[in-house]
């Protein structure tokens, strides 16, 4: 017991040293990454072999997807527990805010990319169901004395409802995450209108103009080619469809930023080691947040992909940003 504590302590000290050396590099990397991934690609095209970032490491692009896959394969079983612990349960509020902003109507079709364990899809289906119940209650109240015409209309609308059932499709590159998600769905009793597909966000296996809403929550920073993912999002959305992205972003308040950095680099990998037995994966997680473009730059990337009315909201002072755009 004491030996493992000593090991843990030594690792903490070693990694905090590494962090101190790396913040200097990390700081310059942050300003560097503001040029955008397009510039990096120009340079590496000339070099003949593309490289990208995996946390603070530089890896060839082909490797990044594999390494991201391994990270999530390792953490899949403990993913939900770790989310609760690391964000102190606040991630539930963030996801609830996403649903409120989305305000889906019954009959809507959702594509939840990088949906993993299905948090967004479950919330979507529950929201839509409660909306449906509210609507039914409203019509029941207004139909206290129905005429025969009203009764026959009611029968016909019931049929329409069943054909316009809301659907949520969870798409993730990692089978393990989807399996965990499906087990959760079965234990929660949510199965109607929920589908699971293994797929790559850069090459979605869906037809054009199919979905009303496309969400990607805390997943887009793990995608190797973000612009390709955004283009695929544009393709599969119906005209008038909405793109919504929840992602960790730059904290606006400088004092909070220092606290957040300290918490991220000192606490989170330790928690990862203690709870999930995986230091490296959680180190990657906090590093990948630093490498992701900030709110404004990501907004420009979404606009470049062809979305209109792109806006973002900072949640928790910029720890998380909710970006939204429409396909018009």
């Amino acid at each position: 017991m004491a030996a493992s504590m000593r090991l843990l302590l030594r690792r903490v000290i070693r990694l905090s040293h590494r962090y101190n050396n790396v913040t200097a590099a990390g700081g310059s990397a942050r300003s560097g990454c503001c040029w955008g991934p397009s510039t990096c690609r120009c340079f590496s095209d000339v070099a003949g072999d593309r490289s990208t970032h995996f946390g603070f490491e530089t890896v060839p692009e082909t490797e990044k997807a594999k390494r991201v896959y391994k990270v999530f394969e390792n953490v899949a079983q403990k993913y939900d527990t770790m989310n609760d612990v690391m964000s102190l349960g606040i991630h539930r509020l963030w996801k609830d805010m996403l649903l409120h902003a989305m305000h889906p109507q019954p009959g809507a079709r959702l594509l939840d990319v990088a949906g993993g364990t299905g948090d967004i899809s479950f919330r979507f289906l529950e929201y839509v169901r409660s909306q449906q119940e509210r609507q039914k209650r409203r019509t029941a109240r207004s139909m206290q004395t129905p005429s025969s015409q009203d009764i026959s209309d009611n029968y016909s609308t019931e049929d329409e409802d069943t054909s316009q059932e809301s659907r949520a499709v969870v798409c993730d590159i990692n089978k393990e995450m989807l399996n965990v998600g499906r087990k959760r769905a079965d234990s929660m009793g949510i199965s109607a209108g929920l589908s699971w597909v293994v797929g790559n966000a850069e090459e979605l296996p869906f037809d054009d103009d199919q979905f009303d809403i496309y969400t990607i929550a805390f997943g887009i920073r793990n995608v190797t080619h973000i612009d390709q993912a955004l283009q695929e999002a544009l393709r599969v959305l119906k005209p008038g469809g909405r793109f919504m992205c929840l992602e960790f972003s730059k904290v606006t308040n400088p004092v909070l930023a220092r606290i957040y950095d300290a918490y991220s680099f000192q606490m989170i990998p330790v928690l990862g080691e203690v709870i999930a037995g995986d230091w490296k994966s959680y180190q990657y997680l906090v590093e990948s947040i630093r490498k992701f473009p900030d709110q404004e730059e990501f907004k420009h990337m979404i606009e470049d992909a062809g979305f209109y009315c792109v806006k973002y909201n900072n949640l928790t002072s910029g720890v998380v940003a909710l970006h939204s755009g429409f396909k018009l």
Partner: protein
């Protein structure tokens, strides 16, 4: 009124006990230290989950974006044009091109799915 409550309090544990008796495998699978044998038991149970064919409405091949055909015996989604088959594992289709299998009829190995 209280009689109802007492009645439910008595029958509730019996119902829960009965539920727990029927679901020991699922409980064992969700435990952290899972012995290999029980895990494979759960896997066999889960394997039974069928593929939801209503997905085929909008599911297409990620490479060619053309519709697919579901083959129930081999549990695969087949793209005739490119001659590749995507596996369906536990009812979840795996639409990653690298995981697709080339159909044996296609002797042309140069059209490998990874070239895109």
């Amino acid at each position: 009124m209280f009689r109802n409550v007492f009645g439910r309090l008595l029958t509730e544990p019996i119902r829960v006990h009965r539920y727990l008796k029927n679901a020991p495998l699922i409980q064992r699978a969700t435990a952290d230290s899972v012995p290999a044998r029980s895990f494979s038991d759960v896997k066999d149970e889960v394997q039974q989950q069928p593929f939801d064919t209503s997905l085929l409405e909008f599911l297409v091949c990620p490479l060619s974006k053309k519709p697919l055909r579901y083959e129930a015996e081999t549990s695969e989604l087949i793209n005739e044009e490119l001659g590749i088959a995507y596996p369906v594992v536990n009812g979840i289709p795996n639409m990653i091109p690298q995981e697709a299998r080339l159909l044996q009829k296609d002797a042309d190995a140069s059209t490998s799915p990874t070239q895109e």
